[in-house]
Symmetry: C2
Subunit: 484 residues, 2 copies
């Protein structure tokens, strides 16, 4: 039987940040935490989502609250916290940290939430709840958790609030945002959302795979021409000949790191394995083409190397979460983070949930409903094969917002040693309060992890309404000429 | 007046390595040189090509001699030695070195030659010679220098000999190889040649630019489709509409490092400038498209940052040669390398030669003549925009050798931490003694500089006739079935 943590329940009665959720120290980090951390549960009904809330280092009373959600479905947002953009990044030893100079809490109060129930250290008192999950239920539960958060932290209700997330977060983020949009009782200050390398549209993912592989040199011009001829652009319902050719071409991607074309595939050596990869067979490369046909791949392949188990087949899922898995599993860390004691150890992606993807819509339709209300940023590390920038740029185009011809796939810039550098390409749409798509050049699936300076600059420009292209003052997007 | 170094002339009479060319110490390197280095001049008529010869660390009496030539035309092979694959790589301070664990002299006796006259510390007693250069004269002179080398070092004549080079070396290498092929008096043991990110064919370079930029996310799908429609694949003789669209698309590449799409453009800050960039205007991006139209770009843009001169416009040619320029310019280094004292200081690319590119042929025709005699490897770092892998793979295809369907653009592999990794893609042709093309994934123009482990493995497999795909025993390329 699961015991409810008394602390979380009692905290609901408090008027400010819940003292019982305060993290007094982090095992492995001998210094003071730079700002206050809280860790505990956001509870509603029998469900309890584990969260970590980290106050901003900016000391700006106007600094926003940003929710972050990793994807899967089934993967934990602790990945974002401890590997991507938290203030302390876990080392591979699972015992120590590296301070992150590009932590997102430099700009915002960061809320990391493990969702849905069954993921990470989140749970339900009713075990059936983890076996009956879907996109709509997850969005509903995430909104309930958010309401619980602002009950616990009413002092943050007036701050601008943004939803952000990555990968299958491409579903979590707009679906939650739409729930917020439609819920008249919401009394926090929702302003917009951010999606990184998100899942948008199965059909576009299937279509983008061949051009992506060809564009990066993974298949030959000869093979590309054969495929073009056999497939005639119809990758969603391919002919047998097309399917065969694409599959054979995709074989070239099999050994690659699906999350970054140019990055070696991480393996923890002989201890590397990944639970539900068992079912997949070793032949399946991680490209949009295959994910679109077999959506389980996205969740399954993100599972990281973990201590070997005799029941698990050796495999190379490419992403390192060895240190996080070890650290979060210790008794001391669980106590420090106020984890419900009866829970099994943390996994980066849970193998014990049953999740039905009822995102049978195409995500852009949701965006179209919200684009005149919320500020929206879609970014893509452009060397990711799993949710590639081609499919996502096509998806954003299909929202049918008018492209601003002054910023139609133009370089966006940062100053680095030696002058201005192009860090990616930006497309701005002529909407208010603003819809933008950008690529991050040379980053894979986890942009904040692999291009931290660029990701922080991007977030700064977005949150502070600066010109995404230069970081300067915002350009007016609709010019009005006043005749006197 | 230039004085001839007595040492070189006298050495012609010696029976072995010329003692007077022996490098006794390198300023800035306080340790013993791991193997013997020689530096001096290969002289013929009034011409004197500066060379550095570095014995192999392999102690293998069968180890080959490999000639290396950088491109330009007008750029020095000291770039290859001190920045790419020499045993000691110069640091940016211009005063110290980093030992290179992937030095090519681990496998071969390396001969670095500055060519043609007027480049680096090479010279002619007749100044007119530097003003009347072309591809054919360069190949003729390079062969004369090689003959002088083997006169100086007769003990190396029996070793297998390979010509290798990079960039405009794509012209130097096959033209010299053809001279060797056709010269019946050659008594050294020529076996094959290697070209990295080489210049092959202006037309293919012009055609590859748009697919390369699109393939890496530098232009949008929308723009690509407009270009396809306007250009109809005819980039060599584009319509006005096509030209305009391609130029506008290429603007997106302007700020990028033309030698590596994903690498920041190096600048030495305010001291960075590049001589003959003056003439080019700042608007010209370095892509195959532009190089094909304005071949001077290749030589001009490779010029690296160097100490500021009031006459030189500030610019960012992206490649660092600050340390090498400083170090090679000192009196001590010139003495240590036996440089003709009256010469001006070394520049990575000479602005004082007059070179006519009479490569009006397409390089593949030369390869076709030699492919049944020499082992040939063409490799391309696949993120280089200047000589991109698309154009070069098309050029190698156009040799019209039969592709070996067992290795038709297949991954080639190396073992790294965590298991086998795909390091690029390989195409093998069904010729004897062997023609192969491969890409090096994630490397730019200077493959040995930016992917040293991969480059060394590639050279090892090529020189030692191993399977390029795996590093294992060679696969028979033409299978013969013996019926008994």
């Amino acid at each position: 039987m699961l015991r409810l943590l008394a602390s979380s329940s009692l905290a609901l009665l408090a008027a400010g940040a819940p003292a019982s959720d305060k993290v007094s120290s982090l095992p492995g980090w001998i210094f003071d935490l730079p700002t206050d951390w809280y860790s505990g549960y956001l509870s509603f009904g029998k469900k309890h989502l584990h969260y970590v809330f980290i106050e901003t280092e900016s000391k700006d009373p106007e600094a926003p609250v940003v929710l972050w959600m990793n994807g899967g479905p089934g993967c934990s947002s602790m990945d974002g916290l401890f590997y991507e953009h938290g203030p302390l990044l876990i080392n591979e030893d699972g015992k120590s940290f590296t301070k992150n100079p590009q932590s997102w809490n430099k700009l915002a109060n960061m809320l990391y939430m493990e969702a849905p129930v069954g993921v990470g250290y989140s749970y339900s008192e009713d075990p059936k709840d983890t076996q009956d999950l879907n996109d709509d239920q997850t969005a509903t539960d995430n909104l309930a958790a958010l309401k619980a958060f602002f009950e616990l932290y009413p002092e943050h209700k007036k701050r601008a609030f943004y939803v952000s997330g990555e990968s299958y977060g491409g579903v979590y983020v707009p679906t939650l945002s739409l729930k917020i949009f439609e819920d008249k009782t919401v009394d926090f200050n929702m302003r917009g959302f951010v999606v990184g390398n998100g899942l948008f549209d199965w059909k576009l993912m299937a279509e983008s795979s061949v051009p992506f592989l060809y564009g990066h040199g993974a298949i030959s011009t000869r093979k590309k021409e054969e495929i073009d001829k056999a497939c005639q652009g119809n990758y969603a319902n391919p002919s047998d000949a097309c399917q065969q050719l694409v599959d054979s071409a995709s074989e070239n991607a099999r050994g690659l790191n699906g999350y970054d074309f140019y990055r070696d595939c991480f393996s923890a050596g002989s201890s590397a394995s990944a639970g539900s990869l068992k079912a997949l067979g070793s032949k399946t490369p991680l490209t949009g083409w295959h994910i679109a046909r077999n959506p389980e791949l996205l969740a399954d392949l993100i599972r990281a190397p973990r201590p070997a188990h005799p029941a698990l087949r050796e495999n190379v899922p490419c992403i390192d979460s060895v240190g996080g898995t070890a650290w979060l599993g210790t008794k001391e860390v669980r106590e420090a983070l106020h984890i419900e004691p009866s829970l099994p150890n943390w996994e980066i992606c849970s193998g014990n949930i049953n999740y039905t993807r009822n995102m049978d819509y195409s995500a852009p339709k949701l965006y179209a409903q919200m684009m005149h209300k919320y500020r929206i940023l879609v970014y893509n590390g452009d060397t990711d094969m799993a949710c590639d920038y081609l499919a996502d740029s096509w998806a954003v185009d299909s929202i049918n917002a008018t492209v601003d011809e002054e910023a139609d796939w133009v370089p966006w810039l940062m100053h680095a040693d030696g002058g201005e550098q192009t860090v990616g390409f930006l497309t701005r749409y002529k909407t208010e309060p603003g819809l933008q798509f950008l690529t991050v050049k040379g980053a894979g699936h986890m942009v904040p992890q692999w291009k931290p300076e660029v990701a922080l600059a991007m977030l700064d420009r977005f949150l502070n309404n600066k010109d995404m292209r230069t970081g300067g003052a915002p350009q007016s997007q609709t010019k009005t000429v006043v005749v006197v």
